[in-house]
Symmetry: D2
Subunit: 344 residues, 4 copies
């Protein structure tokens, strides 16, 4: 039984980790920290967990208690993992960080986008970007795993088959992405109120969103050269789900794109390439760790449209984190993650 | 491994059965029938099931194939189980009927409310009402189980502690119930369109809803006498969930209602009596087989208010059906049903 | 042209006043105050108002500027009108207060429910409760009008015909009320987030809600004696709308309740008694100043069920405030309020 | 007072016409037709209209009664206006057709996309495409007006300033559009059920949507040459609203795009170019006849992103139809259309 610690478990990725780990046959949450909720039982904050974690209460972060765990998840705002990771790694535990702290290889770029100095640049070399479909081998032996963001997961999985195959023109890629409101977190903000965010649709951060450099970094690697990417996120009136609509120019019309995608993901347990002509719905992955993808070439033109959907809290955060844990701990990769989506 | 058949699996209770049974370690769906979808793979109709039932396709109902199953669920409109049950029971299989066909003990009353003759009155004697919290022993040996309706489950679980204890005045009970739209089924009807049912609230069937006689029958049994019940259902702009707000006069102010409810359900795995002062949310049971209950006596008056929430598709239908299967087949009652609700 | 001032216009009742007054042919907003948004144009905070109030910006409250208006609306949290009303009334302007400050006749009771001393008990005598269907004559000459709360409006309009006629047993009245989330205001609170309040239903404040004494006060007056009232509010996953489901015992079965309601409201421009057997939907009044009512006597029993729906921001707040203004200023009562609801 | 007829008034564009015309000071609905609802009062089908059209009932289409009107709106499925328009025009009335029947100049192309022969090719020459921002002069004297579709309105208004100025590369334009569910109409279909369409996002008709040729036709005209357009519509979990996210390559970085858009629409009463850096929300136009637009050039690159929002039932259908009526009848263009959007 793997001993698990969670730092910062009061937000949506925290409660989602608890939901998923409650069903995991080989993991047990030993510690969950929150400064603001110290002493509160997790089931009092999240009544869906009543009966599942009755002994577990939030506690103030303590390196000794966390260090005694086999794996420590960080479900924290950016900056927190920077501060604690070094000390924790010294205890020998593994860190799986759901925040953005170790996703960018370049500390300077991180600093530019997050508006503060990078707090642990010396750890970047050992940090592994936790996208199993790209980095599985490195994850197996990683001590510090940076779980990809939600938009980056949906976008990279949709575009890398084209880029790895050298088919897409890297100069102009577009990711028009639509996210449910849970992507904004559980903080009390006017913009996330039901009365503000429901019955409406809007783009935001068109000038530049923090996930842009992360996506670009991954696409650069897949393309083997710098790509030009335009990323437009939209707030969508639903709780969960990301729908990435991806545009790439593919001049070569002789290639069988459907076969390309199917082959690229043939061995992947959590990527589902749908039949040609499909339109994946975000609800088909609600609560599940699956990314569903469909490839289109409308009117047989140069512009290829890839549709890629995930649940931002599962494959886009906590589910992918558990998938990383399974890989890193030598477990079956799908353990605790094989339930179907909730539909309707 | 229990062999399962499902008659009429294209509606919401059908797909929910498939979702729950996909996670059940001791059951396997062998047959699923639908005349209209004959030959279609279940995963083509319900993409959330892709990867879970890849070999399974809908087929035309066939008594031999169904009879070879250990358990056959009916997830059909009323009248269908009447027609098939007799023949099927003769094969020795168990029937767990999610429709209303065998819920009422009185064939005449059934006929009045459903506007057609009862199709199998000779089977009523052996039919067991599948509310485990009341009928667990009878369910163990039942061949024909009538799974309670959604409103009846939430309402009965909320009121029977008061009635069994003889505390509530049986002359005037009120059930003001709010249901998500999935209770109306997957049929294409204008009233269930997103543009008609979202951003709105309404009562319906105030003059008399088909669940009224079913609830009354259960409450009569609990009270040991005929009760007077007013039942007002409301359509609520959400997919899943029932919130029953129940009103009963309890003159005796010396009784500890919180303790009464806690004791009544102390051994029940799927009824959660919340702490005094709680307000259960339907989302706290979304996708889970749990009924959460809170008891209030506002301003210390005579009128007791019980709040009872379930997921209408789980504890109000398919989850309760699986719970019945577990009991009837001698399995652990919680098998395949122990996952937490999806929240947020 | 009536000169209008608005104190505290940044919340939902404030922007709704602006929306309604933009269509009002005889009123013009001269001043709108907000300490936090001083200098900000109203159209910058509320883009739906772009093109309608391009010269209008929030300013710090100033008694001279407000006093120069013919009418001053307060769309503020409780306590603010207490502090300003006396000084403003001295300037000769009329006050129409949308907050709870002057709704209760009894300063002690106000203090008990709002947890602070009443700040202006000396003004209570001149305050008029602004429910036109009850108090129209007093409103005509009022200087200080307390606009009823949203739950109180829907509940009183639904129950007073029965109470005024002496038909309902006053000892036990029940108001099971469902409100959209805008009733909680525009403040950033976790409970009002889309991810917390959508796809869910819950009761709240069952032990006692601040609208209880206000409703009871109005019903006492209608009944001519103290009533026993149980009031259970529920949070419903929609933006606007209140659905009050009201229960009263009416022993006399000879009375024609439909006719009673139709006669009571025959001359009322904003109360619509629907045909017998109707189920009013909240969306049928979305954005409109109408209360729609239907009366039922299920199964011909003693318990009468009244269904009453309003838009909490219109007939439950800002629309009723404008209706009061029209009456008090001698205008046609329906001016600026005659547009149909937005449906779908 | 203009006498108005409406053919096919039972759908969402029909009821929206009634809502808007109820507030129009110079128009009066004399006839409204529906074969299926013959004899039913409009207020019985649409309770939001109770008190507004109490004498008006649906009737079977009759050319004499319609021909006696000054203007006849068609709010019908495609093909209906083809069949009736010729005969009606002969009576001298004006036709404002909200369907797709006369939008495409090329009868062959119409036939290809709609899967049936064009029913009135001889009328195409006199048909005027009713986008006032492009065709105002022609509308003034038109007898037959084809009201643009919802996606075409939002997309054309967003792209034509760039194309008219010769700034955008016409070879590759992208319209990634998100629509509320009311765009699918009021027909009972499984895909539009609340339980299917809420809490989810999906693209549809990526291979080719019927609005594609209409948008292309308008953009060709603006560009003065054939354009290459990829159009991907998405179903969004809300009732009303279209959000068009438009991508165009603009190599010239010296041009002030903000000024370009502001100048293009300076005299337009229903196009609001928002300040630089804005992100228009669909709710800011809910119920209003406004198109709000913002222009972005992310990271200062070649790709320009235009955000364009409308209410699909107003500026995308019935509001634009009334705007056309005002122009064609010589009234003030904004008459009956000047109310603000409903927000929240």
């Amino acid at each position: 039984m793997i001993k698990v610690g969670i730092v910062g478990g009061t937000g949506y990725t925290g409660v989602e980790l608890l939901r998923l780990l409650a069903q995991h046959p080989q993991a047990r949450v030993e510690v969950i920290t929150s400064r603001s909720e110290d002493g509160v039982k997790v089931a009092d904050l999240y009544p869906n967990l009543r009966g599942h974690y009755d002994g577990l209460a939030f506690s103030v972060p303590d390196v000794n208690r966390l260090g005694a765990c086999d794996v420590v998840f960080f479900a924290t705002p950016h900056g927190v993992a920077h501060a604690l990771a070094g000390e924790l790694l010294a205890t020998g535990t593994r860190i799986i960080d759901l925040s953005a702290d170790f996703r960018l290889r370049d500390a300077e770029e991180w600093s530019r986008w997050y508006g503060q100095p990078h707090g642990a640049p010396q750890l970047l070399e050992q940090a592994v970007y936790g996208l199993p479909e790209v980095n599985r081998e490195a994850i197996r032996s990683a001590q510090l795993i940076a779980v990809p963001g939600c938009y980056p997961t949906a976008t990279q999985l949709g575009l890398i088959p084209l880029l790895e195959a050298g088919l897409a023109d890297p100069a102009q890629l577009i990711a028009d992405c639509k996210s449910g409101v849970s992507g904004a977190g559980r903080g009390a903000s006017v913009g996330s109120l039901l009365c503000e965010a429901s019955e409406s649709m809007k783009a935001y951060a068109v000038a530049g969103h923090r996930h842009l450099p992360e996506i670009r970094q991954g696409l650069n690697l897949a393309a083997g050269q710098p790509v030009g990417l335009t990323f437009v996120p939209h707030l969508t009136p639903m709780i969960r789900g990301i729908h990435a609509t991806l545009y790439a120019n593919v001049k070569d019309r002789s290639v069988d794109l459907q076969a390309l995608f199917e082959q690229r993901y043939a061995a992947e347990p959590f990527v589902d390439v749908m039949p040609a002509g499909s339109h994946p719905e975000t609800r088909s992955v609600k609560g599940a760790n699956t990314c569903r993808i469909a490839v289109h070439r409308p009117q047989g033109g140069d512009l290829v449209v890839v549709l890629s959907v995930i649940d931002n809290l599962v494959k886009g955060a906590s589910g992918q984190a558990v998938q990383n844990m399974n890989i890193a701990m030598g477990l079956e990769e799908t353990l605790g993650l094989s339930h179907p989506a909730l539909m309707p």
